[in-house]
């Protein structure tokens, strides 16, 4: 490991970060190392240290590959199990095998055609999930950017109060709020409504948005706002014409975060949505546990389809997701 550390260039940005938002972190660059200490310090004549060095390097490489293979299996095992169960043609028996004996895509076909009573509204529920995710994303970006613009660029007195409460909300474990939240949603008359979940998700995602946008906004000089104001722009025009376009990468990071938060969250969807028409895929998956029959292959096929959007988003936009973290946000 340490060999790998010594020979690499420390200061190139993280591998996932690419040319995205990395500017804020570790921006100072040092010239790359041009000196390999071990090779440089050993005199040409000595054979023995060099051979030992080579052996050591081989050993290290072997250990690294071993660790890599282990991490690969470790990471993919639950994902593989999900596919294994989904590809099983038998509905309620475990195969007890490591490889699918005869891979069978009929469970995916059944989900596609909504062939089973527990998934009779699958695509409608999938639409609900998308609606929930997109609404959370749009509202979080909108409310978060408005708030962070006001907090960091309009010099409001005692604005730290809002920032501190945002930080506290961000730190709060959200599951602890679930019980009072359900009661309050009854009071608001929002029970069994997607908007109650959207409200919860927006409330939990905006603090992160505010913190991240505040960090990233420090990179944009105030002179821009000032000169725009001298030219007669109102704060709203500054927000719309200068702030939003320049903040675009951070807004994408925040939007992806909010979307995945709403998509991957389970507890609030389960507690707040009850009717078949209003529930999301996450709640529908859980219904399989409550039913007497147990077509686990259907359930796992749904689970596989349900995890596709996060996977696609992750592979497509991971540099924004990673940049959102390295800019200073720490939330999964």
């Amino acid at each position: 490991m340490s060999m790998a550390l010594a020979s690499g260039h420390k200061h190139t940005p993280p591998p996932l970060e690419g040319g995205g938002l990395g500017g804020g972190v570790g921006a100072a660059s040092t010239p790359p190392r041009n000196l390999d200490p071990l090779r440089g310090s050993s005199p040409q004549g000595e054979r023995e240290p060099r051979r030992r060095y080579r052996k050591q390097r081989l050993l290290r490489k072997g250990a690294a590959i071993g660790l890599g293979v282990f991490l690969l299996i470790w990471t993919l095992l639950p994902v593989y199990n999900m596919l294994l169960m989904a590809l099983d043609d038998d509905a309620d028996e475990f195969t007890g095998s490591i490889f699918p004996p005869d891979p069978d895509f009929s469970s995916f076909a059944s989900v596609w055609n909504e062939d089973y009573w527990l998934m009779a509204h699958f695509w409608h529920q999938f639409g609900n999930s998308i609606y929930l995710g997109v609404a959370t994303m749009v509202l979080t970006v909108l409310i978060g950017s408005l708030a962070s613009f006001a907090l960091s660029r309009l010099r409001l007195r005692r604005s730290w109060v809002v920032t501190d409460f945002a930080l506290l909300t961000y730190v709060l474990p959200t599951a602890f709020l679930a019980i009072p939240f359900v009661h309050i949603m009854h009071k608001y008359g929002l029970s069994d409504s997607l908007w109650s979940v959207i409200a919860a998700m927006v409330a939990f995602a905006t603090p992160y948005a505010i913190l991240i946008l505040h960090q990233y906004g420090k990179l944009i000089p105030m002179e821009l706002d000032e000169s725009a104001k001298v030219d007669g722009a109102s704060p709203f025009q500054v927000y719309l014409r200068i702030y939003l376009p320049l903040m675009a990468p951070a807004l994408v990071a925040v939007g992806v975060y909010a979307l995945l938060l709403a998509w991957n969250e389970y507890l609030y969807q389960y507690l707040l949505l009850s009717s078949t028409r209003n529930m999301t895929v996450a709640v529908a998956i859980n219904q399989f546990f409550d039913s007497d029959e147990a077509p686990w292959n259907y359930m796992m096929a749904i689970a596989t389809i349900y995890s596709l959007p996060p996977i696609v988003i992750y592979f497509g936009l991971r540099r924004f997701m990673v940049a959102g973290l390295t800019m200073g946000g720490v939330k999964g």
Partner: protein, 305 residues
């Protein structure tokens, strides 16, 4: 991005303008504040309606002392409290330590390590519901994938993981580590990359290489961020719900519950919402010091959350 860089190219140093008050500052103060308040209204409204009110309402629900008498005489609650402490103490520390070590492994620039990192981070993006359910099925019967692997290797039937309390607890903690270690590895990776190479060069001249560099250079430099991340993760893990709910579902016989799942069952399965809130509020004596400590560390070190 190019626009930003362009801007930064001719922009003044960020540190200088903040001390200077723009000439129009006083003149526009009033209208600026009005705009600022208008911009803040949506967030403040959301916060008041969906965070502050539930918090106050929850405190009110769990305010009766009689609830705690009821709670502390329930033997299942005591098991739950101990489980939560074990879950947080072991889960968070093992996860953080491994994530710290693995972040060193992922500093390697070779192509296969970088591709592995992309796959390794996948658990972070996947829904907890899906992956924890899958892990549950790997463990649940003697036909699960883990038992099949066990049989393929040893020839014997594997253990029934969710029948023994200790194995079920271990399964919960390992699943938790599986889901969250990649995320913290990434945080430490970013922190490691911001350490200037000069420091390592100087350390090498002084004779620190190999593991000594890890102990005497890398770790001291990352100690602050390590501590803050651990505190933050402790706070979040105290309220962790999906791991235990899906992986062991409290099995066997509700002996592996943690506070969040215990409160959930009390409130929604047995119909005692106030007792459920009280169970979660019993974490406050631990939660509040952790949050205060966290806030103080954040203020003192300037690490951004």
């Amino acid at each position: 991005m190019s626009a930003t860089q362009q801007v930064l190219g001719f922009g003044r140093q960020l540190t200088t303008y903040e001390s200077r008050r723009p000439p129009w500052h006083i003149r526009l103060q009033g209208s600026d504040s009005t705009w600022a308040i208008a911009f803040l209204i949506p967030y403040v409204a959301i916060f008041a309606a969906f965070v502050a009110y539930p918090v106050v309402f929850g405190l009110w629900m769990g305010s009766s002392p009689a609830l705690y008498g009821l709670l502390f005489t329930d033997p299942r609650y005591l098991t739950t409290a101990i489980n939560t402490l074990l879950f947080v103490a072991i889960g968070v520390n093992v996860k953080m330590f491994l994530a710290f070590l693995l972040s060193g492994f992922f500093m390697s620039r070779s192509w296969w390590v970088r591709s592995l990192l992309v796959i390794y981070l996948l658990p972070w993006a996947l829904p907890g519901l899906v992956v924890f359910t899958s892990i549950h099925f790997m463990l649940v019967t003697q036909w699960g994938l883990l038992d099949s692997l066990w049989r393929a290797v040893t020839g014997d039937d594997g253990p029934l993981f969710l029948v023994s309390t200790w194995m079920a607890m271990t399964a919960n903690i390992v699943s938790y580590i599986w889901k969250w270690m990649p995320f913290w590895t990434l945080i430490f990776l970013a922190a490691r990359m911001s350490i200037p190479q000069d420091i390592y060069d100087a350390a090498e001249i002084d004779g620190a290489s190999g593991y000594r560099r890890l102990i005497y250079v890398t770790f001291p430099l990352l100690a602050n961020i390590y501590l803050i991340c651990t505190l933050l993760s402790c706070v979040w893990t105290l309220g962790d719900f999906p791991t235990v709910y899906f992986v062991s579902s409290g099995a066997p016989a509700r002996t592996t519950d943690v506070l969040a799942t215990y409160g959930f069952h009390e409130a929604f399965d047995f119909g005692y919402p106030n007792l459920g809130v009280a169970a979660m509020m019993s974490a406050l004596p631990l939660l509040i010091p952790l949050v205060i400590l966290l806030m103080r560390r954040v203020r003192a070190t300037g690490v951004q959350l």
